[in-house]
Amino acid sequence: MDMEEHFFRHEFGRIVATLTRLFGVDNFALAEDVTQDAFCRAMETWKLRGLPKNPSAWLMTTAKNRALDILRRERTARVSEPELARFLESEWTLVPTVEEAFSTYAVNDSQLRMMFSCCHPRLSEEAQIALILHILCGFSVKEIAQAFVSSHAAIEKRITRAKKVLAESTKLFDLADADFTARLSSVLQALYLLFNEGYHGASPEAAVRMELCEEAMWLMNLLIKQPALVTPQSYALAALMYFNAARLPTRLDDAGNLVSFFEQDRSLWNHNFIAEGQALLNLSSSGTALTKYHMEAAIASMHTSAAKSEDTDWKQIVSLYDMLMAIHPSPVIALNRAIAIAQVDGPEMGLQKIGVIHDLHRLSSYPFYPATLGELELRRGNYHVAKERFCTALSLARNPMERNFLQRRIDTCRER
């Protein structure tokens, strides 16, 4: 009698995408209403009668019948997608067209097309992510606001505006479109940011953040399970997610405090995820393309393949960072490269490399910039300077977890 975890959420995305394909994107609000209605009926019925044999089919049938009612009643007044409209005009073709839209193949296709539609170039990355969570993962405004530690009003405004942009099209994004490659990059970037929000984000609740990582991986899996759409960079991003997710359980201790990477209990890492990540990383090397996802996944794999922190091949990691800097330079990556260099050549060399980072000022509000300086100063015995650096970092901390972590580093310096 158990439902799969997040079953309602994920079915919501499948149904709303299918109905949007039928009614047209400009009728998205109608698709949402019909979906919501199907879920209310499911809840009312199942809570008393128990789960049907095939809950997914039950929901689909309920939504399909409701769609047929609406299309019979309103016909083309409701349908704006030109190719579909003519099939929906006569009863003769209406039923088979709607049946076809609800076939497993078409539902999966609509779901992916919706994902690409959400990453409209006129929407900011934040809006794209909010829209994906709202439409494809069935997150309410409240749930998104909680996950992003943002106000209800701000998220509501963001989603309302994004839906307006979405509704300016009539059709869902066509996966055979000439813009496919460019749009795929936006989709991957959105999923990458969604995962990172869960991994590094500001919500103090570990469960909330774990959910964001899970949703990003769920969406990523939809993408890589479509043989016609999958690209090496998609595999690389999926690999990166699996490697990082493997380490997720050890990033926080039982009290919810951040645990330094070097002190994480590696026996608690998810070894199935590491194996999956490795398999995906192998698949990602089939082409000639080398993206930031490839390099980041390769670095993550170096970490997860070391049984002990001391076994880490830092030299190899430094050269991977060199390659990453060559294709995607950024001050944060340069900072991480400096940390790797410090592991190989000592803290002085690390500090020296940080000093020459291009665009260093862009890190001025990033707490882990002064925290890294503190860490390296601590390692070379400059406790007083280290403490000052950690205090600066503390003043920039973005959430209680970071604050606790940095406070403990300051205490470490005091004890010396």
């Binding site: 009698m1 439902m3 997040h6 079953f7 309602f8 959420r9 079915e11 919501f12 879920f39 209310c40 009926r41 499911a42 809840m43 009312e44 019925t45 199942w46 809570k47 008393l48 009668r49 128990g50 789960l51 069935g138 997150f139 309410s140 409240k142 749930e143």
Partner: protein, 110 residues
């Protein structure tokens, strides 16, 4: 042992699919426990919102059942209990109370 009907009245619907799933699961767990203990005669049925009320000598048909959402019966179950006190006791675990709804406990005529 006497049979009782639980009439479930008006409550707020959860806003998100995730909350709906959790709520559905809570109801199923509550009813399963009643059933496992032999106190459930029938899971009952949900009643869809809307309908008609026919009344008076003129048999006037109006849209119903009630204007107030909180008064609308959303479903029922039939349970078996020693007496009304026990039947009331069993109802206390119903998840409907978390959402502002009510349970009306009525002995079934014998």
């Amino acid at each position: 042992m006497t049979e009782f009907v639980y009439l479930y009245r008006g409550y707020e619907l959860p806003a998100s699919p995730e909350e709906m799933q959790q709520k559905t699961a809570k109801w199923m767990i509550w009813l399963k426990e009643l059933s496992d203990n032999g106190h459930l005669k029938s899971l009952g049925d949900p009643l869809q919102p809307g309908g008609k009320v026919i009344k008076g000598a003129k048999k006037q048909v109006i849209d119903g059942p009630y204007a107030e959402a909180k008064d609308v019966v959303g479903g029922y179950s039939i349970i078996v209990a020693k007496d009304i006190e026990q039947a009331v006791g069993f109802s206390l675990g119903c998840p409907i109370f978390e959402d502002g709804g009510s349970v009306e406990v009525r002995p079934i005529g014998q």
